[in-house]
């Protein structure tokens, strides 16, 4: 894996290492300047080992998550790359027939042996190329009669024994090379996969059907599946497991297939081994091949695949995995950062009076910040390393589960350790923690000495000192000073870094100059605020400073001179004003200029919060101000709820800004968001809900008081359990937000997963049938019922048999009548017979105007040969991997966008001749129809069209409905019975329910894996509760003593602590549950999110309850120990405790 979020990983690593160096430099600087502060910090760290252990656990969690994400992505990328190498072996380029340029006539889609000869002549002595070999590949039914097993679409591959050896691709199962010279006459090697599919081994006889004519081969060995020996890597194959291959002598293959003088591919191997081939380092050979092909246009050839491209693709998939894990881990990382913040808030609270004393005896705020920083970094440096290592462990576990999930598909995943990813995870963990600790330390150090010493509450932070507009404006200027100072520091830091690297590149001399410049700036700036009379030397230095740094010096001078003034006037009101301005500007830019949802919604949220802060500044009590703001924000983020419960109108009709702009006749905002909006909405919505809960939870106290009698003896414990968290709003708010955020993310993930699984694994995925029978193109079956009767079928009774004739991409092209002429593209045309259409249940995503129901469309398809229906992939504008559709894929995404579209006229042609079909597309299938039965993909027409234009098509697929309501086992029995009865005809039958179950079990395992990964955030939340609970026991020791003195029993004290943690945990769980459920509902009922698919929303109660039970249960267990410790506090000692 080389890139993440489009940035080179090496660049990320270098940047992080620089930041890490800066972090360490700061610590060393503090250590040298103030060793006492470092000692203070370190002694605090070892003062309470249990608490330190908990803090280390808390700090390491973010690093753990980052490390696990990187390591898992690396492993996946490495495993796919391994798969590519293992499959390709020596094949670096594959030259094949150029279908794009030369049409799609199946009979002609070959290269000639004369082309092969000219390639050999041109490149035979090229030092860059060490192998050229031809391959003839055909898809044929392969039968093992002794076992009565078949592979209807096996790869029949002819190889040239003289030249294939240089590709090292014929290897037995012990990875030893076998000789192709043994492939004489009708002797064959079979690939491992084919061996399993037809249960054959050396000595067995296999039969191949070509044009219904059988030919038998003796199996002389089983070889590994590679690009030479089976269908994979280069030509993919279809379905979850590509068919295995049968390798014979090229001459034999040409003779049996009647393809004398033709080959399918020319494989080219470049100098070097499998993993260090020249092709991976240079595109020189590809360029030569391209030039040669261009010089021989009659060859109709093209380089259709290269090892380099496939390895790059594997690495991209790896980085997609990392991105996926990182994005879904963001919630946990955010929770981890909040935990770090929380830990330092608590440490600061614990030492408040100590800090007040320290300030009183002369320590500056900077000193306090440095001391905290030293302590924080003492925890951080070790815990990040532990986190990064444990992340590897978590990754190994995830990989183990992934490997089991993909076990059946033949994709072998092995754990891979990449030191670069480890370094990135460690550095990122240390830097993130450093930033958080610096912020918390700065915040903690800004205390009032008297209040700190006397342990008096800080005054309301948001309340304005004089509540006037003028003081607000002055405060805004004070904040502006701060922002300018921050900007100056950043500019200077960047300048210093640039000078440092410039200095490095000039071998020391530059470093001296850079040092002199930095020194000049530093000492010059220190002279600005000198109170005593400046000496001549100082004046000279000051003038030099002003000249050397001119604009920067002027700004620095202004800022230093106004520092005290700005500090005096700066308060929360100024910040709120800038928040409001920033929010409004962001909203405007996001909605009307950038069209970026993150900026648009984030800006609105900032603005609303700023208004609440300003209201408090001007004297409004906090409670109503933040209650109104938080309700407004929760409502804003949950739109279109609650309206969507009563009406189907889309979201835009209910957006407040949209409504306002519409009312004023202004342009409407437009914004688009990606997956990051999941994270942004999660953060905003939980933050808003947390405000709502925190400012209104004292209603719970009233309820407890009101129902005190019912609660009996535990009422006092409940009362204190609620009162304490409410008294520490900030601390409780962060913990609640942390817990709520993690539960929210898990609920959304679980609900989305469950709904999508249900969509693709529900009854609609069966399309109304029980068994699917894929016919053999070389041995056609006109009527399945007749064929089964003749073959003596004795399985479960058939209620109906629908037939589809398929004219594949080799045989059909389509053109949209309104599109330019060159848009003639291949398509799979599916002819549905009347019985199929009568039985099938095919829900439509969009219907054309004039067709009110799905039945009307099906009825039209049955009776009208001029109408057609397309599957969802043809209107989604994406390929199979979710990426944009390629230009050679027929696509109506820009044409069919919504219900009631105008029928789309298309013309279907047979390149081999015949009258064109002029059709109208009148409907599109829901995506779930082709989710499991991919055979239903394509352009559906009435069967008579395929009969008429394509002579019955290339193959048929039968869809069987059994009598009654068959169980899965009955449908499996029926499929086995059909396949067995028609063994000689080479059909492949499968139970549709079994296919659904196989698919959903794999996707469910994958979903659980992701949910498990996201669940790491729960560990953060639980650790937070543990930290709080342990700390509160220490903090409230004296109060516990008093409670015990006035009659609280041990049990009641323990219960009080237990309830307190439970209150936060349960409130977080309830918040996450409600918000997550609401957002999931919004997403799943939004056509934009589901790409138009209609999803019957259901809430996976059991799964969610399990998540909630785990969340609460684990947090309850975590608080048992501190609760017990609280109950065992010695009363007399506690009362003396200070």
């Amino acid at each position: 894996m080389d890139k993440l979020f489009g940035i080179q990983l090496n660049s990320i690593m270098v940047a992080l290492l620089i930041l890490l160096a800066v972090v360490f430099a700061v610590i060393v600087w503090i250590g040298i300047r103030r060793p006492l502060l470092v000692r203070m910090g370190l002694r605090n760290a070892i003062r309470r080992p249990a608490q330190t252990a908990l803090i280390v656990v808390g700090l390491m969690l973010s690093t753990l998550i980052i490390s696990a994400a990187f390591s898992t992505g690396d492993t996946v990328g490495y495993s796919i790359t391994n798969l590519v190498y293992g499959s390709l072996q020596g094949v670096d380029y594959l030259v094949g027939f150029d279908r794009e340029k030369n049409g799609v006539e199946r009979e002609q889609a070959y290269l000639t042996t004369s082309f092969l000869d000219s390639v050999r002549q041109r490149f035979g002595n090229d030092p860059d190329i060490d192998g050229i070999t031809p391959l003839l590949v055909e898809q044929l039914p392969i039968l093992n009669e002794s076992q009565r097993l078949s592979q209807p679409q096996g790869a029949f591959i002819g190889v040239d024994p003289g030249s294939v050896a240089s590709f090292h691709a014929l290897r037995d199962l012990n990875d030893n090379e076998v000789s192709a010279d043994a492939l004489t006459g009708n002797r064959t090697y079979i690939s491992d996969r084919l061996s399993s599919q037809v249960n054959a081994r050396a000595g067995d006889t296999l039969t191949v059907f070509v044009e219904n004519k059988p030919t038998t081969f003796e199996v002389i060995g089983v070889v590994r599946d590679t690009s030479i020996t089976s269908r994979q890597a280069f030509d993919g194959g279809s379905g979850s497991e590509p068919p295995g291959g049968m390798i014979v002598n090229l001459q034999t293959a040409q003779q049996i297939l009647d393809r004398s003088g033709r080959v399918s591919y020319v494989a080219v191997s470049t100098a070097g081994g499998t993993r260090d081939a020249l092709a991976l380092r240079s595109d020189r050979v590809e360029q030569k091949l391209d030039d040669f092909i261009d010089a021989n246009p009659d060859s109709r050839a093209k380089v259709i695949a290269s090892k380099h491209d496939l390895v790059s693709l594997a690495e991209i998939i790896g980085s997609v995995f990392v991105t996926f894990f990182i994005v879904f881990g963001l919630f946990s990382i955010a929770a981890g950062i909040m935990l770090i913040f929380l830990i330092f808030i608590m440490l600061a609270a614990e030492r408040r009076s100590e800090m007040g004393m320290a300030r009183a005896v002369g320590m500056s705020r900077l000193n306090l910040t440095e001391s905290f920083l030293a302590e924080g970094m003492a925890y951080n440096i070790g815990s990040a390393a532990v986190g990064a290592v444990l992340g590897l462990g978590v990754s190994a576990l995830l990989v183990f589960i992934l490997a089991r999930t993909f076990n059946d598909s033949g994709f072998n995943i092995t754990f891979h350790f990449n030191p670069r990813a480890f370094v990135i995870a460690y550095s990122l963990g240390v830097v993130l923690t450093f930033v958080t600790v610096t912020f918390s330390a700065y915040r903690a150090a800004n205390l009032n000495i008297v209040r700190a010493i006397r342990d008096i509450d800080e005054p309301q932070m948001l309340r304005g000192p004089s509540r006037s507009i003028s003081s607000l404006l002055l405060s805004a200027v004070g904040v502006l000073w701060y922002l300018a100072w921050l900007g100056l520091v950043i500019v200077l830091a960047l300048g210093a870094a640039a000078l440092f690297f410039l200095g490095l590149s000039t071998y020391g001399l530059g470093l001296l100059a850079a040092g002199a410049l930095v020194g000049l700036f530093w000492f010059g700036a220190r002279l600005v605020n000198v109170r005593s009379r400046r000496s001549v030397g100082q004046w000279v230095l000051l003038v030099l400073w002003a000249v050397a740094f001119n604009v920067i010096a002027l700004l620095t001078w202004v800022l230093l001179k106004t520092r005290a003034w700005a500090g005096h006037y700066r308060n929360a009101g100024g910040w709120a004003l800038w928040m409001l301005i920033g929010g409004v500007v962001l909203t405007y830019l996001g909605g009307w200029v950038w069209h970026q949802q993150f900026a648009y919604t984030g800006g609105t949220t900032l603005a609303v919060l700023a208004v609440a802060m300003l209201a408090v500044y001007f004297g409004t009590p906090s409670r109503p101000a933040f209650t109104i703001a938080s309700i407004a924000l929760v409502w804003y983020w949950l739109l279109p709820l609650p309206f969507s419960l009563f009406t189907d109108d889309p979201l835009e009709h209910f957006g407040p800004l949209e409504g306002l702009t519409k009312l004023l006749g202004l342009p409407q905002p437009e914004s688009d968001g990606n997956i990051e909006m999941f994270f942004v909405s999660g953060i905003c919505i939980t933050a808003s809900a947390t405000l709502l809960v925190i400012f209104n939870a004292d209603a719970l106290l009233a309820i407890v008081s009101a129902f005190g009698r019912l609660l009996g003896g535990i009422a006092p414990a409940l009362k204190t359990a609620i009162a304490y968290p409410l008294a520490s709003k900030f601390r409780t708010g962060i913990t609640l937000a942390m817990f709520g955020l993690v539960v929210f993310s898990l609920v959304v993930m679980a609900t989305l997963n469950s709904n999508f699984t249900q969509l693709f694994a529900g009854d609609e995925a069966k399309a109304g049938f029980d068994v699917m029978v894929e016919g053999n193109p070389s041995n056609r079956i006109p009527d399945l019922r007749v064929a089964l009767r003749d073959a003596g079928y004795q399985g479960p009774a058939l209620a109906g048999v629908g037939t589809q004739l398929v004219a594949s991409t080799f045989g059909a092209v389509v053109q949209r009548d309104a599109a330019p002429k060159q848009d003639i593209l291949p398509i799979s045309v599916v002819g549905d017979d009347d019985e199929f259409l009568r039985i099938a249940k095919l829900p439509m995503k969009y219907r054309a105007a004039g067709y009110e129901t799905d039945e009307a469309i099906i009825q039209a398809l049955r009776n009208d040969p001029t109408v057609a229906v397309v599957d969802d992939s043809l209107i989604s504008g994406t390929n199979d991997f979710g990426g944009p559709a390629s230009s050679d894929q027929f696509d109506l995404s820009g044409v069919i966008k919504a219900e009631g579209f105008d029928p789309v006229a298309v013309t279907v042609k047979n390149p081999r001749g015949g009258d064109d079909l002029h059709l109208k597309v009148i409907g599109t299938l829901e995506p779930q129809v082709t989710g499991i039965l991919q055979q239903l993909a394509g352009l559906h027409v009435n069967r008579q069209n395929v009969d008429r234009l394509f002579g019955g098509g290339d193959a048929e697929t039968f869809f069987v409905k059994l009598e009654g309501s068959p169980s899965k086992q009955q449908s499996v029995d029926a499929a086995n019975a059909i396949e067995s009865a028609l063994l000689e005809r080479g059909v492949q039958a499968s139970s549709i329910q079994e296919r659904i179950d196989d698919s959903s079990s794999q996707s469910t395992a994958f979903q659980y894996l992701f949910e498990g990964f996201m669940g790491l955030g729960l560990v953060v939340g639980i650790a937070a509760l543990g930290v709080i609970a342990f700390r509160t026991v220490v903090e409230r020791r004296q109060q516990i003593g008093m409670l015990r003195a006035i009659g609280y029993s041990r049990r009641l004290v323990a219960l009080s602590f237990f309830f307190e943690s439970s209150f936060i945990a349960l409130a977080g769980v309830a918040m996450g549950l409600l918000l997550g459920g609401a957002l999931s509902y919004n997403l799943l009922t939004s056509p934009t999110f589901t790409s138009g698919a209609t999803i019957e929303f259901h809430f996976p109660w059991i799964r969610i309850l399990v998540i909630c039970a785990i969340a609460y249960g684990a947090s309850a267990l975590m608080t048992l120990i501190p609760a017990r410790a609280a109950s065992r506090v010695a009363v007399a000692e506690a009362l003396r405790y200070e």
Binding site: A715, T720, M1042, L1043, R1044, A1130, A1132
Partner: protein
């Protein structure tokens, strides 16, 4: 608790040979070295002595919030040194009140909520608890401040809340550890006056640990301690008469 006149001559606290050792690991400290004393119901006793002489330890052992090493502590005829923790806790909730130097109020609860806590703990209904808490606050002159949290009250007001909390369960004995130690002299005088009034009107027994001779001078009896022993006892006739 309201007692009749004859009860004032009863011995409510009887201590025989009380020893309390603290084992700090390195050394063993003898905090109380065989203390014996008796306190009559309705008596107001001050315990004085230099720092570290064992005053607070004595109060803790008598009130049952600390275990004794040996000796006997009879409170209303019950040897509390033999009771298990739950029984002692329950006894404290019903029959004792506490006043501390640093108030020890729960900062997160309002004054009235702090005062009603002992009642709620001992199973009194919430409604009655609230009524009695307000009544207790009224008695200490803080009815108007019932909904304020400790952080919003002055030192004297906080100590009045503590006294209200000590009275609310109508205890037999109120233990006060330096009740005026954190107050200015005027407020201390005010608080002491309140305690004397309650002692007179409700025949409450007070055991007050104090450094302040002017506080001790307003008690019926002064017990002087030195090195874990009772050095001497002085009966304050003036206070008795007063």
């Amino acid at each position: 608790m309201t007692n009749n006149a004859s009860a004032t001559t009863d011995s409510i606290i009887q201590v025989d040979g009380l020893v309390k050792n603290y084992d700090t690991g390195a050394v063993q400290v003898q905090a109380l070295r065989g203390v014996s004393l008796s306190v009559r119901r309705g008596e107001m006793v001050a315990v004085m002595g230099p720092s570290g002489c064992g005053k607070t330890t004595l109060l803790n052992c008598l009130s049952g919030i600390d275990d004794v090493t040996s000796g006997r502590v009879l409170i209303e005829g019950t040897d509390i040194s033999t009771l298990d923790d739950n029984t002692k806790t329950s006894y404290r909730a019903r029959r004792m009140g506490f006043i501390f130097q640093f108030y020890n109020l729960l900062p997160v609860l309002t004054a009235v909520e702090n005062v009603e806590l002992p009642l709620l703990v001992s199973g009194t209904s919430p409604k009655e608890s609230r009524q009695r808490a307000i009544e207790a606050l009224r008695r200490v002159g803080l009815e108007e401040w019932a909904q304020h949290k400790p952080g919003q009250l002055s030192g004297g007001q906080r100590q009045r809340v503590t006294i209200a909390r000590a009275l609310v369960n109508r205890p037999a004995i109120v233990w006060a550890d330096e009740p005026t130690g954190d107050l200015d002299s005027a407020t201390a005088n005010d608080i002491m006056g309140l305690m004397q009034q309650l002692n007179r009107e409700q025949t409450l027994t007070f055991v007050i640990v104090t450094h302040d001779p002017s506080i001790a001078a307003r008690c019926h009896r002064i017990i002087h301690m030195q090195d874990g022993r009772i050095e001497r006892e002085v009966v304050n006739q003036e206070a008795r008469v007063g």
